[in-house]
């Protein structure tokens, strides 16, 4: 099997009751690649991300991380999830811990790395995202944008093989979107492997190596950004993109 493949999804199916949310999706992400998932709300893109991390049981197909199955509810999941970083729309920082404690929790408690080494790395990562002076603050003392950058650091520090970003700017005030997405762009440039769900088209175009449009639980179109945004293959993509421009 190809060494470069980080995550492979084969014919994934996800059903909520009667509702088919993901109806047969196959997808491969290689090392260093940034894949951006877009689509109308309710198209299943967030659910897809959650399935990749084993947060949801799936009803068909499989998810493989480096060839190893990600299975909901299995013991192996604890180990596999350390290889997958996830950042959520609502940040999910633990409110009872300082930013630094939030970041150090997994590497110290789960990976059993030395406190000193982790502290140093945490501080340098915080510095890199512009939060060097916020290490001792509690999440409630930070703005949404700052919280989200801290949450990104919390995922980065476990050295995941892939990062999943689930609409991480959807809950932010417009002026904070930029500071967060710049951090992500920086990661993309430096060769992080990521799958990003977003509604920010300009960002998608800048960050993506590949853009995937989902609708109705399937992949409608998959193309490099230059192609997707200038000259999409499908009518559905054209229609979707047109919802982002205004004219009177």
């Amino acid at each position: 099997m190809n060494e470069d493949v980080v995550i492979e999804v084969r014919d994934l199916k996800k059903v909520f009751g009667e509702n088919v949310v993901i109806n047969g999706i196959s997808l491969t992400v290689k090392k260093g690649e940034t894949v951006v998932l877009i689509g109308p709300s309710g198209c299943g893109k967030s659910t897809l991300l959650r399935c990749l991390n084993g947060l949801e049981p799936i009803q068909g197909g499989s998810v493989l991380l480096h060839g190893e199955p990600v299975e909901y509810g299995k013991r192996s999941l604890y180990r596999i999830r350390q290889k997958i970083g996830m950042v959520f729309q609502d940040y999910g920082l633990f409110p009872h811990m300082t930013v630094l404690d939030n970041i150090m929790l997994a590497p110290v408690k789960v990976q059993k790395r030395s406190k000193q080494e982790v502290t140093e790395e945490a501080m340098s990562l915080l510095e890199r995202v512009g939060l060097g002076d916020k290490a001792k603050s509690y999440p409630s003392q930070l703005s949404g944008g700052q919280q989200q950058r801290a949450a990104i650091v919390r995922s980065l520090i476990v050295h995941p093989d892939i990062m999943l970003l689930d609409e991480i700017t959807a809950a932010l005030d417009p002026e904070m979107v930029h500071e967060v997405l710049n951090v992500v762009l920086d990661l993309a440039k430096n060769g992080s492997t990521m799958i990003i769900v977003t509604h920010e088209m300009a960002f998608a175009e800048a960050a993506a190596d590949r853009v995937i449009l989902m609708d109705g639980g399937i992949i409608v179109e998959e193309n490099p950004p230059e192609k997707f945004f200038r000259d999409p293959d499908t009518e559905r993509a054209r229609k979707f993109l047109s919802t982002f421009s205004y004219s009177r």
């Binding site: 947060l55 604890y78 999910g92 920082l93 633990f94 929790l105 919390r154 995922s155």
Partner: protein, 217 residues
Amino acid sequence: MDWLFIKEYYPLYIRSAVLTITIGVLGIVLSVIVGMICALCRYYKIPLLNGIAAAYTELSRNTPLIVQLFFLFFGLPKVGIVLSPEACGTIGLAFLGGGYMSESFLSGLGSVRKIHLEAAASLGLNGAQTMKSVILPQAASVSTPAVCANVIFLLKETSVFSAVSLADLMYTAKDLIGMYYNTTEALTMLVIAYLIMILPISIVFTLLERRLRHERV
């Protein structure tokens, strides 16, 4: 006011107050343990235990302590289980309090937002690590006001112990009224004894709650 009477009999009140407090504290500690176990069984929906814990919680919360005590003290000996008044008081209080504590703990556990559980999961924390580092610290601060209220409620419920002839404060007061008719003095000492027991705790809990509320904002 008959000061001589008070001077002569206040040591009785001290002795019975100490007994009331001892059994009260023992019962409350046990009810915290019972409540915690029940809350965890229900939180994790452990098969069978979940149902038992839920049924127990409803039974204990929807019946009066005095009836529970009568059952323990007068009923159980008929099937060969003879308990001392002290044991009855402790077990009764723990039975009653366990249900209340279980509800308070469970609502604290349930208050932890799903996203925090998912964030913990995606960081690779296992069940025990998530409970210890993420759920419990958050649940504790949410449960504290309710748990404090339960403690005061249970302390006040100890007044029922006299019904199973435990020589507590009420017992002493009733005894003195019955023997000497010094009703005013007996009742005054009773009120003072309960004030000394409950007022400081009540004040401390109010301050604690105010601080918690302040921190959460």
